[in-house]
Amino acid sequence: MKLVSVLLLLAVGSPALAQTPAQPPTKLEIQYSQFKLPNGLNVILHEDHSVPIVTVNMWYRVGSAREKPGRTGFAHLFEHLMFMGSGHVKYGEFDQWLEAAGGDNNASTGNDRTNYYINVPSTSLELALYLESDRLGYLLDAMTPKTVDAQREVVKNERRQSVENQPYGIADVVLGEMMFPDGHPYHWPVIGYMPDLTAASYDDVVAFFKTYYVPSNASLVVAGDLDSVKTKALVEKWFSEIKPSPAPPPPTIPGVALSSVQKKTITDRVQLPRLYLAWITPRLHDPGDAALDLAASVLTGGKNSRLYKRLVYDMQIAQEVNAFQASAELASTFEIQVTPRPGHTIAEVQTVVDEELQKLAREAPAAREFERALNGYEASFYDRMERLGGFGGKADQINGYYTETGDPDWFNEDLGRYRALSASDVRAAVAAFLPLDRRVELTVEPEKKQ
């Protein structure tokens, strides 16, 4: 039903789109089956027989936003511990067994969720289900303070590599601190602070596991070259015995807003300065969220986008400019980054950015400009259907949609959010959510030469 209404809307309600080239005909729709185990685990199965591989994708509703003060970075450190062995899988065997089966695996931690995937040839599906279930059911049986110590050092090196030794890497950390007040869970970085990583203990691991790594706080997607009936039996076989436990209550974090301009200058080991402008914007899927995605595209998507064309192409005073809406559960952020060319200043580029923001807040983008942004979004939905496993693959998206909306097949609805917009919605979103007088302005300056 939902599908039909979206398509009808397109056909009758959007004269602008009539001028666009033929729309890709295929519906964005996936077939799936879904069930819940008695212990509360949500399971979604999706068949795709195009390549003989399957993927086991698990989302837990926990991220850095659930961390306690003094233990920042813990959700991510915990994610590393999930690969260190479990009750029936000795340390090292998780990866060795999967590699021997031709599999690969990874995980990532965000503010709001942690996701894990295992890709294997379809003939090794049961091994992947066994490993995934063993660490949900029996992780603590294999956990020791020594395990925690080992991954603590790895994670500290991950932070060094991605923050301190990464050009401009510290900027994201400082931006979060400037955007969100002390105590707000988006105030600290997902990777955490070094002293907190040092402080993380074995007891923290036990408590975190018992609270958040429970079936009712997880969702499992098994997708690929599989038979749904047989896969359901295998999932029941390996996951049913895991004990139920109440799901943690959802976070209760009051909304936040910036009331003035917050300015700061920091230094880094870089050759060129960089300007970061950032706003707090509507949450994932709230009104304004999709319009700001399109606004980002109108501003910096491609050579004809407003900021790229003026700063990089025409004036040639910037090396690069980038804008994006980073959507999240508690609050989103909209960010613009500009790197001036040698001989040009932050002030020069900021003047141009502000002129363009004001202009876009006053006048809706032209029809062609708006459709260009929309068409790019539409095409990206098809591109995202090509890969089954891994981060951003179909299984990961299904789990994301389920976790965020309750509907695993929310592809069309998501695209519908964009197609329902008009050029004036983009203008309105810029006017409402990207004010010049309520934002963060962070400048990274090159360290002085010694």
């Binding site: 080239p21 379809s122 990464q166 050759q271």
Partner: protein, 487 residues
């Protein structure tokens, strides 16, 4: 859902699992064993030709309504003339900056409006114009791609724009310790006169001197139907596609002038192990690259090397990652690779390690580089072979993946049955093969060691290891003097 799979073996394996009652706790002391390799039936490569002789390879993948169209030119940066390094790369970058009657902005607008992606790039052995597009918009996008490929105009004001962009990025390359380490290793192994010793983009000195005429002349010699193949992968049929390709690419003619040809100079024999230290004051990690000149893609040891490198540093459980990350916690990850090109590309082992463990990490690197010369336990060898062989089907998943595999076939002239025999050739690698390859290609006392880090903190420890002489390199010696920009 047109299957590409023979699923018979798959069904038999799963049937055993269904008989078990879900209510009984499963026996976790017996982990499920990996199944046999699923059979991969690759879709056919349909080989056609346009009237002008341009070969067209088509692979139908109908799962998603998208198409990937790549025009592959068998000339790349290895064809750059001496002292003109960066010419092929600049030529490729300029293709979309003006073509036919279209300006750079026109091209970008047309492509973006269609929801397509169009890129032009060159690496050592090829240049390519690659387009990804919703298949419903292919007919509108192909003429734009064809203009970019066949009728580039190389406007001089656009060349100046790209030049300034590139000079600035060369300045920025000095920011990133990993980039510095990579550029340094290539420079040390190949020197300044071999093409592999200089980044694809070339040096600032040369970038400043490119003219539209020079680019046009390189373009005219390399971009021609008898030096190109057109790849089309996706939700396509030859019947619908071929007329579109004929009308967009059919006018392309082969000129009389000779094609460019690679003439890479001979490489020098590796000197005794030397440490090259690049100072990065304040760096919390040291970026380490340990390497030597490896092998060309045509090496008869290709399959043993895939397995060998997987064991050394090609997978998460590899020896380097297990030692430096899991056992010692010195790094977020340690890996190795053989970069294979038409000529012998570099072998390197890599990690970013915490500054205060730099010398300890170097010791562990060499422990592993020495240990790989010894016999490899059967279980470890089998795991690596399975890892390489069983992952193979997954490398054909998307239209982009498939097109890249086809590019390899064209550029390295792989036989038509190459993919069909890949898995069995990996499985046929014996321990003696990997040991022979290790002895031949990994010579620990002839490796170049590059360390980019905080010199005052790491030099004493490195010196105490006595790995070899230490040479200090400045960023100017690696990148050339920092360029100044025109404006």
């Amino acid at each position: 859902m047109k299957g590409r799979v023979c699923a018979v073996s798959f069904l038999i394996v799963l049937a055993a699992g269904v008989a078990i009652h879900a209510q009984q706790p499963p026996d976790r002391t017996k982990p499920p064993q990996p199944g046999p390799p699923p059979e991969l039936t690759l879709p056919a490569i349909e080989k056609r030709q346009l009237a002008n002789g341009l070969p067209v390879w088509i692979v139908q993948l109908h799962e998603v309504p998208v198409a990937q169209i790549n025009l592959v030119i068998r000339s790349g940066s290895a064809d750059d003339p001496p002292r003109r390094f960066g010419l092929a790369n600049m030529t490729a970058a300029m293709l979309s900056q003006g073509a036919g009657a279209r300006s750079a902005l026109d091209i970008a607008d047309a492509i973006d409006y269609l929801g397509a992606n169009l890129s032009a790039d060159s690496t050592s052995d090829l240049s390519a114009i690659r387009m990804h597009v919703p298949v419903a918009r292919l007919a509108d996008a192909l003429p734009v791609m064809a203009d970019v490929a066949l009728h580039p105009t190389f406007p001089s004001e656009e060349l100046d724009r790209v030049r300034q962009q590139r000079l600035t990025s060369i300045i920025q390359a000095r920011d990133d310790p990993g980039t510095i380490a990579l550029v340094t290793l290539s420079r040390i192994l190949y020197g300044t006169s071999h093409r592999y010793g200089t980044p694809q983009m070339g040096t600032a000195e040369v970038i400043k001197t490119f003219t539209s005429d020079e680019l046009k002349s390189f373009y005219a010699s390399a971009y021609r139907p008898d030096n190109a193949t057109l790849l089309a992968v996706g939700d396509l049929t030859p019947e619908r596609l071929m007329p579109m390709l004929e009308s967009s690419f059919g006018s392309w003619k082969t000129p009389a002038a000779p094609k460019p040809s690679q003439s890479l100079p001979a490489t020098q024999a590796a000197p005794a192990r030397t440490i090259y230290l690049v100072d990065k004051p304040g760096a919390p990690q040291s970026q380490i690259r340990i390497g030597s000149i490896g092998v060309p893609r045509s090496t008869s040891d290709y399959f043993p090397i895939q397995v060998l490198n997987t064991i050394l540093g090609g997978s998460f459980s590899s020896r380097l990652n297990n030692n430096l990350r899991e056992v010692h916690g010195y790094t977020y990850g340690a890996f190795s690779s053989f970069d294979m090109r038409a000529g012998a590309g570099p072998f390197s082992a890599n990690a970013g390690v915490q500054t205060d463990k730099t010398s300890e990490a170097l010791t562990e690197f060499f422990n592993e580089l020495n240990a790989i010369l010894k016999p490899i336990p059967a279980e470890e060898l089998n795991r690596a072979k399975n890892y390489v062989a069983l992952r193979f089907p997954g490398t054909f998943e998307t239209t982009g993946d498939m097109a890249r595999r086809l590019e390899d076939m064209i550029v390295f002239q792989l036989p038509a049955d190459y993919f069909a025999h890949y898995v069995e050739r990996i499985q046929a690698v014996a321990e003696a093969d990997t040991q022979r390859a290790a002895a031949k290609y990994i010579v620990p006392n002839r490796l170049a060691v590059v360390v980019v880090g905080d010199r005052k903190l790491i030099e004493p420890g490195i010196r105490a290891l006595n790995l070899g002489p230490i040479k200090l390199l400045t960023l100017d010696e690696i990148f050339g003097p920092a360029p100044t920009l025109d404006r």
